[in-house]
């Protein structure tokens, strides 16, 4: 609202961030987990004086370097770029609150990358003890990048005491900090195992391939054993309202008893379960039959699991960007009540500038739609308004908007998942007017249907 709003047709701005984030999470978790893998595997090679394993690790580390330092690093910047385009107010507040944490993250990032290059380029050029030392250093630095960024990520879901103190320590070490740190570490180890399965499956000598495939499969074990416990710990720290949203859902976002969030949760569990069961029966018990194609399949399943889990984590936070503080459309929670009186459009610079240049109600309705709805909805595409409005006419839309304006959860059954609509009565009318222009075709269709004889009638939504 403070800024011009980037209108992304069909996909919506959130998915631009979402897609980049999912790719980045998958790669960056490999950067951390893979670092631990390289350090521990190299230690094993060192102790066993296993030349084949050294050779494997050298090859694996090139793959590691190419994946993490290029795509991993650049998509990390990509998340930052994309969030600043989609929710500039949110990212500005976030970096302003945690500037020095961000700066500290950068220092570890520099150390991590410099060590990764030194590690890769000194294979066979320094003593094995020194090289192992570099591998361990890399692992430590990369874990520290997680230690910091995890504070900022979890802060958004559970800002805890920060809401009253505004102290960075309270923000970083918030209620979900530790459970989330452990879950991520476990997942990172599993992802490292899955990537190692790829390079292991490409080893030509069959006996050694068997050894390495089995070794890589073992890396999926920790998440299998500890994952459920840590997840439960995590869920106990999440705001209970969010948990309810997972299972009960809300009228429009769920079908039957399965809310969309529960479905994402089950998808994540099914995919993770599949990976683990197949990892046990496949590469672990029967490593000889393991091939590159199966390894790729594991990687794809892993991406699916990552995507659904991260999506669910993001959804848990709805309707907030920073829980109980900043809504996903950039509105501060405390501002909603006053906006209902004074109006939304005059409140901030860009929305006011757009309104001043608006010629009619529909145009200012569109401005409100952009600023309050488009952070989650599109006109025609992801969470399409055209579809959601069905055949509602302007009056029906008005009543729907009246429900959305309520801040009391008893009167507004969308309140768990959508920010309240923050407008005054006049603006509500403009918004309804604009929304009614979106579903003209659907209304026309309904009118045609109602003109048909009774037995052919469809029920309007």
């Amino acid at each position: 609202m403070n800024y011009p709003l980037w209108v992304v047709p069909v996909l919506g701005g959130t998915w631009v961030v979402g897609i980049i984030s999912i790719i980045h999470v998958y790669l960056s978790h490999f950067a951390v987990g893979g670092g631990i893998f390289l350090a521990l595997a190299e230690e094993l090679a060192y102790r066993r004086k296993d030349e084949r394993m050294y050779e494997f690790l050298q090859k694996h580390s090139r793959f590691f370097l190419l994946v993490t330092t290029v795509a991993g690093a650049v998509t990390g910047v990509g998340i930052w770029f994309s969030i600043s385009l989609v929710s500039p107010d949110g990212i500005h507040s976030l970096i302003q609150s945690f500037t020095l944490a961000w700066a500290e993250e950068y220092l570890f990032f520099v150390a991590e990358l410099a060590t990764a290059f030194a590690y890769y380029y000194t294979w066979g050029k320094i003593s094995r003890e020194q090289h192992l030392f570099l591998a361990r250093l890399y692992a430590i630095f990369s874990v520290f990048t997680l230690v910091i960024i995890n504070g900022i990520l979890t802060f958004m879901l559970t800002p805890g005491k920060w809401l009253t103190t505004h102290n960075w320590m309270d923000g970083v070490f918030n209620p979900t900090y530790f459970p989330s740190l452990f879950i991520r570490l476990l997942i990172m180890l599993a992802i490292a195992g899955m990537y190692a399965l790829i390079t292991s499956s490409m080893i030509k000598e069959s006996k050694f391939r068997t050894v390495m495939v089995r070794y890589a499969a073992k890396w999926l074990l920790p998440v299998f054993l500890l994952g459920p416990v840590v997840t439960i710990w995590f869920l106990t720290q999440v705001p209970q309202a969010s948990i309810e949203t997972i299972f009960t859902g809300i009228q429009t976002s769920g079908v039957g008893n399965f809310s969309i969030l529960a479905r994402a949760l089950y998808l994540s569990l099914v995919l993770s379960g599949t990976i683990l069961i197949f990892a046990f029966f496949g590469p672990y018990l029967n490593p000889r039959a393991f091939t590159f194609r199966i390894a790729l399949l594991f990687l794809v399943c892993g991406l699916g699991a990552t995507a659904s889990t991260e999506w669910m984590r993001e959804m848990l936070r709805k309707p907030y960007v920073v829980y109980n503080y900043l809504y996903s459309n950039g509105l501060h929670k405390d501002d909603v009540a006053s906006i209902a009186q004074t109006g939304f459009l005059p409140k901030s610079k860009w929305s006011r500038a757009i309104t001043d240049s608006c010629k009619d109600d529909t145009a200012s309705g569109e401005a409100i739609f952009r600023y309050q709805c488009m952070s989650c909805h599109t006109v025609e595409g992801y969470r399409s308004m055209r579809k959601l409005l069905g055949a509602r006419d302007e009056d029906a839309i008005m009543s729907l908007l009246s429900i959305l304006r309520e801040t009391d959860p008893k009167k507004n059954n969308y309140s768990g998942i959508m920010p309240p609509l923050a407008v005054n009565s006049e603006e509500q009318k403009s918004l309804a007017k604009y929304l009614a222009t979106l579903n003209v075709a659907a209304r026309g269709e309904t009118e045609k249907v109602s003109a048909l004889p009774n037995d052919n009638k469809k029920k309007p939504e």
């Binding site: 770029f81 970096i95 020095l100």
Partner: protein, 390 residues
Amino acid sequence: METFNFIPAYPPLPFPLPVWLMQTLLIAGFFLHALPMNVVWGGSVIGAVMFFLGRKDTSSYTYKSAKALAISLPLFISFAITQGIVPLLFLQLLYGPAFYSSSIIMAAPWLSLLAILIVSYYIAYYIIYRVLKNDFGAKTAIKASVWMVIMSIGFAAIASIFSNNMTLMQTPDKWMPLYSNNPHGLNLNLHEPQLLPRYTHFFVSSIAVTGMTLGCFGLYLTKRNAEFSTWLLKLGSRIFLGATILQIPVGLWFLKSLPQSHMAAFMGGDQLVTGVFIASMALMLVSILATAISSASGDRRLFIAGLVSNALLILAMIINRHQLRLMYLNPHVQPDAVAVSTQWDLLAIFLVSTVALILYLVWLSRLVYRAFHTESPAVSNPASANVAST
């Protein structure tokens, strides 16, 4: 409607650091970003040319230098990206209201630069691990040259997108017309008068800095191969010299493209701005004189003098660039008006960690340097050991 009416407000939170400190970090961070970034762009262009010129003889110095550039590029790219984080962070904090607005208005090209970066970055590795793998003959050289050209087009595009955004953020009066015209972020700032001279200025600078980098390769090889080392020093000095002399008319063109009042600030209108500008001109003269001699004689000391004065020259230019930005943004965007509540505890941790990081990087560089300067095969190479055993 008045322009300043839609310059967004800062968040209702205090700054965690004083403005002067953040400005210093912004300038210092951009300096450390600009050096490798120049090598990335200039290096891909000069590498392409040198691969082509050296195609007939892969044992020639020309070909070898092209190869050295190609092999080192990923490190420069990585360094440029990592060092970009600092200026990006402080640019957002200090001038976020302008920077976020212009980025959103040109969101599509702005975001696409990351895709271009990933592709160009992978091309850099592709050249090393695929094209140069079979290092024979003219065909390889031409192939490498072509890939370098493609990569340089990628970097040129990224540079152009940055120039567009950095100029658009300074001119709020253009925001609303562009946004109204296309709210999907499919905009650029192509009608900006300073865009082309500014872009050319940066391009020529990237060639000059790459010249210096080749000279540094020469310094690195002093003990190993004195002849090649001198050859590189001379070539690097010449490239730098040529580019810097060309920079004089380009720089004047850039200066002329600025609004009258801003240009006047460089010409005595503002003492501080003019002072920095004069210092940069003096440094330029020193670097030209030093490299003019080293390009003929291969003198190492003079080259180093040129190198240092060029580094300082770039720093002075970056300060001037920052001052120019302030001229544009004043009085619309004023970080000085935001309250400050310094996070001393975190600042202390940050400073201690910075010192620790620098010490670590020194240690690491020495380790790597020694690894590449130890001729005796005291340490066994796992790969070669394995080859021997099979």
